[in-house]
Amino acid sequence: MIHTAGPQLLASLLIGLGLYGILARRNAVLMLVGAELVLAGGGLLLVTAGAVGRDPSWSGQVLTLFVITIAAAEVVVALAVIVAAYRRRGHIDLSGDAG
C-alpha cells in the first residue's frame, strides 16, 4: 500500500523546479536541464497513475517509456541547435543579443 500524495507532491515539485530552471538560467544548456526536470515530473505522474490504477493496457508505464525516448530525441536536436548557435555567435547566453 502506498499513499499517492507523495508521488504527486514530488511530481509537482519537479515541474515547479524545472520551470524555475527554464526561466532563471542564462546558459542555454542549463535551460535544457530544467526542461528535463519538467519531463521527469510528467513521467513520474504517468507511472504513479499506472501503478495505482488498473488499466489493462499498462498505459502509464508504456507512455513513460515513450516520454523518455522523445526526451532523448529532443535533447539531441536541442544540443545540435545550441552547438550551432555557439559556433555562430560565440556564446550561448540567452539574455545576450543574437549576433
Binding site: L10, G16, G21, G50, A51, R87
Partner: protein, 172 residues
C-alpha cells in the same frame, strides 16, 4: 505509513533536493552532475512504484546517454569551470522565475492532491508490459523509431548547415 511510503519518501527527498540544487547551483558543471543524482533518485522512485523496466530505461537513456550529451555540450560550448557571476541572472529575474515556478507547481499540486488515495501498488510484471508494448502499443512504438531517426538526421542537418555557413564566414 508503510514501508513503501518510507522508501518513496527517502528516494523522493533525494530527487527533490538534487533537482533543487541542479537548478540553483552557480557552477555550470555541477548543475549537470546534480541532474544525474536527481534522475537516479527518480529511477529509485520508479522502482518503489513497481515500474522496473521504466527505472532501467531511465538509467540507461537518461543517466547513460542524455546527461553525457549535456556534459559534452557544456564542454563544446566552453562552459566556465567554477562559480561565475556574469552567468547568473539578476535578483528580480530569479524572484519572478521563482514565483512562476512555485505558482505552476502549486497549481499542479492543488489539482492532484485532492485525488490522492491510499492504494495498492500493482506488482511489477515486465512480461506483461512487453506483451502490451508489442501488441497494443506497437504502432506508436514503430512511429517512435521513425521519430528517433528523424531527430538524428535533423541534428546532423543542423550541424552541417552551420559548418557550411561558418566556413563561408571564415573565408570572407
Amino acid at each position: 505509513m508503510t514501508g513503501l511510503d518510507l522508501a518513496f519518501a527517502a528516494t523522493g527527498l533525494i530527487t527533490a533536493a538534487a533537482a533543487a540544487l541542479a537548478v540553483t547551483t552557480r557552477q555550470v558543471v555541477h548543475s549537470a552532475l546534480w541532474l544525474v543524482v536527481a534522475l537516479l533518485g527518480l529511477a529509485g522512485c520508479y522502482l518503489v512504484l513497481g515500474a522496473e523496466l521504466v527505472a532501467l530505461v531511465q538509467l540507461l537513456v537518461y543517466v547513460g546517454a542524455v546527461v553525457v550529451l549535456i556534459i559534452v555540450a557544456l564542454m563544446l560550448t566552453r562552459a566556465p569551470i567554477g562559480p561565475r557571476a556574469e552567468h547568473s541572472t539578476g535578483r528580480a529575474h530569479r524572484v519572478l522565475a521563482g514565483c512562476v515556478g512555485a505558482g505552476t507547481g502549486g497549481l499542479v499540486a492543488a489539482v492532484l492532491l485532492p485525488t490522492a488515495t491510499r492504494a495498492q501498488v500493482r506488482p511489477a510484471g515486465s512480461e506483461e508490459l512487453a506483451r502490451q508494448i508489442f501488441s497494443t502499443w506497437v504502432w506508436p512504438f514503430e512511429l517512435l523509431s521513425l521519430l528517433l531517426l528523424a531527430a538524428l538526421v535533423g541534428a546532423f542537418a543542423v550541424s552541417g548547415l552551420t559548418t557550411a555557413d561558418t566556413s563561408g564566414e571564415d573565408a570572407r
